[in-house]
Symmetry: C2
Subunit: 350 residues, 2 copies
């Protein structure tokens, strides 16, 4: 399916990155922006041409949130054969506005889950979308060919297209993106007024939690406003949890422990790249004589097998001269370890 030529409207971080990636993929890319300088910079970076295009197959609207609806309508009207998509972070309200326009069956919303705290065409790079989820949110009226073209765009830039309806998308991003952003901001806001020697104790934990709070303010004002209902719902749930923690701290250790457990369990729900599940572990059991050097010998042989030890536990049975060692390894490698240890004389099984 050919998506050439593509017109990218809006040469900021996302638009220029998209243009760079599509150009690398052999697509003919045209660039447009209200600021001539943004186009100049994008062209200078090799993202495409500033020449006008008569009949784009696909128009990608990558302008600031407040401009998106008008730009989509303009594109549907100006190029009656084009599929039009956008990259805005919130989909349902936008889809609703666009659905009134002639040609709206050619509009299919997108939200590439990619970005950076930096902005503008100089911050762009072609690999921005590689391996990243790309939500495709067609309305029930969307033309199948238009959906296919948008999915193709996502694949060409290395992203993983995930189709869902617009309302589900907005609920999802409230939880996995917008509320995390707010909580990062609230964490960072507490640093004001802290003495320098206090701040000197900062570590990677703090940097991790607050990293995304460095992002563009104006952009996030618009995103949060656009998804206000969903975000407010989740934030109210957070406030409930926060109240529980404030009450439990120092008074009810078990209750506090429940919240901590809930958070830890939550981290295990986050998929790895490309939607893979968290790596499954398996246990290899090895009998070890309770005498000096045995454990070192076992670890040396495990090292030689090339299988990484994820965790290890040792049980010494009272009165017996044999202990059981439990070695946690990546499940797919358990057999390799059992074979390697057995070959070296150990009694091992998984």
């Amino acid at each position: 399916m050919s998506v050439s030529p593509v017109l990218v409207m809006g040469c900021g971080l996302i638009g220029t990155s998209l243009a760079l990636a599509l150009t690398d993929a052999g697509v003919e890319v045209h660039l447009d922006d209200v600021l001539d300088t943004n186009v100049e910079l994008a062209v200078a970076r090799g993202a495409g041409t500033a020449d006008p295009v008569e009949s784009p197959s696909v128009v990608v609207v990558a302008v600031p949130p407040s401009e998106v609806a008008a730009c989509i309508a303009h594109a549907l009207e100006t190029w009656p054969g084009a599929t039009v998509t956008d990259v805005a972070s919130v989909k349902a309200a936008l889809q609703s506005v666009v659905s009134g326009h002639p040609g709206s069956e050619r509009y299919v919303g997108s939200h590439p889950m990619a970005g950076s705290e930096r902005s503008g065409p100089m911050a762009a790079y072609a690999k921005l979308f590689e391996g990243r989820p790309w939500a495709v949110t067609p309305s029930p009226e969307a033309a199948p060919e238009s959906i296919q073209r948008v999915v193709e765009i996502a694949k060409l830039v290395g992203a993983v297209p995930l189709q869902m309806d617009a309302e589900a998308h907005d609920r999802a991003v409230a939880v996995v993106s917008h509320v995390p952003h707010v909580l990062a901001v609230l964490t960072a806001a507490r640093l004001h007024g802290a003495p320098t020697d206090h701040l000197a104790l900062s570590g990677p934990g703090l940097r991790d939690v607050t990293r995304i709070a460095g992002s563009d303010i104006a952009l996030w004002q618009e995103i949060l406003a656009a998804n206000a209902t969903e975000v407010r719902t989740v934030l109210e749930q957070v406030r409930g949890d926060l109240d529980r923690v404030i009450d439990a701290i120092g008074t009810d250790t078990d209750r506090l422990g429940d919240v901590l457990q809930s958070g830890q369990d939550g981290t295990r729900l986050i998929p790895g790249k490309h939607g893979e599940q968290v790596t499954e572990l398996a246990t290899v059991h090895v009998s070890v004589l309770d005498q000096p050097g045995e454990l070192s010998r076992l670890m040396a042989h495990t090292g030689e097998s090339g299988v990484n030890i994820e965790d290890i536990r040792i049980d010494h049975e009272l009165g017996r001269r044999v202990g059981q060692v439990e070695i946690s390894v990546v499940a797919a490698h358990a057999d390799t370890l059992v074979e390697a240890l057995t070959a070296r004389g150990w009694s091992a099984y998984s």
Copy 2:
């Protein structure tokens, strides 16, 4: 100043990592733990010896928070010549308990700002403390020689010792460590019940914010309980900000913008490694003729100079054929760029 021999009591992540680092630094390290298996594993990793030691110079107490006070008291009593330190995350209450014991002038609290979501001796590594802050919190009664020994321990393992009083430390870690942990937990807790295809939209932002929520529950129950007063104070401030955001979302964009700005500014207060400040930028101004190819030529020459472009702005003055380009670079490199561009015929200054 010799700190050998050192006795490390508690062979978990921190104790074993410390022992590995001190051993690498040529210190004679003895190991102890209530669980023989932890000692065995630490010895097998090369962290030191399980042989008893008659007169340690320094005893490092690296046991779980609930055991620390008793362990410190035992050490002060058992080895009357030893300096005793610990690695607990909260200092003031502990110092208060210890101050009643004979020999308490030989106790100097420590808190190495280092760790990992993993725990136990198998997760330990020698470089854990490299470049990390290490709070040293002597009481007013502490013996100078004891303070010196503890500072030396921190330096030997590559950490940056920072002396402060215990109360200041507890206030500091509430803001830069404990509250960020709680907010990471609250973010991750929201993921429960989210459909798989919603979670599929997760990105690095969510992973960054929630990373530390994966840490050991029991440990953090104890840490937060031990610093309950300070943590509650800061969490109440967070709750106030959260209320403001919930009220402002979708209704008062400016107010929401203020909170976002406060967060962004907060991120800039976090020091870089070793307490360095955030990199200072400078602007190099270049005049550019408004004709095709000039900008590309400028960027090519800038690339040849080896100086990285942090940001770039272009001003075209209406009716004039010359534009001004403003290139942001790391301040220390501004002169290099000006020289390189001038040598190539550009009119550049900073």
